[in-house]
Amino acid sequence: MKYASPTTVDEARSLLADNPGSRVFAGATDLVPQMRSGRPEPSVLVDLKRIDRLMAVNHHDGRWVIGAATPTSTLTHNPEFVAMFPGIAEGAGLIGSDQIQNRSSLGGNLCNGSPAADSVPAMIASGARVVVASADGERTVPVADIVTGPGQTSLAAGEFLIEFEIDDAPAGTSDAYLRVTPRTEMDIAVVGAAARLTLDGDTITDACVVLGAVAPTTVRVPAAEAALVGSVLSDEVLETVAASASAAANPIDDKRGTVQYRTQVAGVLAKRAVALAAQRAGNGG
């Protein structure tokens, strides 16, 4: 295995094109355990962290642009970002320990393809997009369209993520992400739930609810969103959200949780994430 550290997107693109079996990485927090568990080594390991564009965080013209290899701790220590997207920051801030956060990236968390990825549900709820470096240029796609199944993405061979784009949250909007794990830290979500709401006074005018770890990919809960939009938050609405989320869950039994547990708790977390997002949105978003 060879290590390469290109400094431009073009250089990385060529390395990948010229070396079958090569692979990009950012924080290596998923890559190294995978290699240790016996997955074949890539021919060339392409380190994306020396490409400035992939490590930059910019906020201008009503939009955040976040380099795909930027350590999540950079985001979670950015007060302006945390204030606008507390839910995305919560998700990004739950990916492992401080040691992991100093290496893990939104791009890696997404491309690993895990339905339990903590940063993904809230990004989807905020309509985040991602700029993909493809063989002949760049394309921009919704984050929701990248992961197609456990460990599977829609990226073609040789493609990699450059940066995420997230439009500023409108007035009266906020988000939240909650997860359940047996430990308080250093764990993988057994269930995750993100919610983003826009309030006009007490009335919810826009809503998005996304679940993690309860299906082969993240799942949106349209029934919950429909129940929320046009409503004033009440226990009754929250119970509908919970029931819708449990109904939308399609989990498996594994070492981290059971079908019954995940189904039940998906509702609980969706309800709590909605309530938290509403409280934040009500406080000015």
Binding site: Y3, V32, P33, P71, I100, E185
Partner: protein, 158 residues
């Protein structure tokens, strides 16, 4: 096996070494440079025993590819004391019996340093979450948390 020549700064000294591209920074530190203070407890980033500071940021050196260190600053446990002068955390760990077997201690000391560098006056909860990436099986964490609290007082007073 592909090898890379790496120049970097470790504990304040410029260092050069040759490493297999597939090697982790942890293996390079231990096997190429004789810095055995960082330990491998898991090799998957789940125990924190291999913690080092990479350009001032706390990382698990088992998850860093050795060639990534090119041009970077690395601080290991061997660089925490200044000569004979122990870092306040080293002193409070010793005085507060915050170590038993000692295998996790280097990782905890560096994690605690990173924590106090970023947050000089942490609450107990902040300390516990800040150290959550480091496993200790002997102490139950109690005396470690207290030693970090003591060092925080001393560092702020100094």
């Amino acid at each position: 096996m592909s090898r890379t020549h790496v120049s970097c700064n470790i504990n304040g000294e410029d260092v050069e070494f040759l490493t297999a591209d597939a090697s982790s920074l942890l293996d390079a530190l231990r096997n190429e440079l004789g810095l055995i203070g960082a330990k491998e407890g898991c090799g998957t980033g789940d125990c924190g025993s291999c913690s080092v500071l990479l350009d001032g940021r706390l990382v698990c050196s088992c998850l860093v590819m050795a060639p990534e260190a090119e041009g970077r600053d690395v601080v290991t446990i061997e660089g925490l004391a200044e000569g004979d002068h122990l870092h306040p955390l080293q002193k409070t760990f010793l005085e507060g019996a915050a170590l038993q077997c000692g295998i996790c201690t280097p990782g905890f000391l560096l994690a605690a340093k990173a924590l106090l560098d970023a947050n000089p006056n942490p609450t107990e909860t902040e300390i516990r979450y800040g150290l959550a990436g480091n496993l200790c099986r002997c102490t139950g964490y109690d005396k470690i948390v207290k030693a970090v609290q003591e060092a925080s007082v001393e560092l702020r007073g100094a």
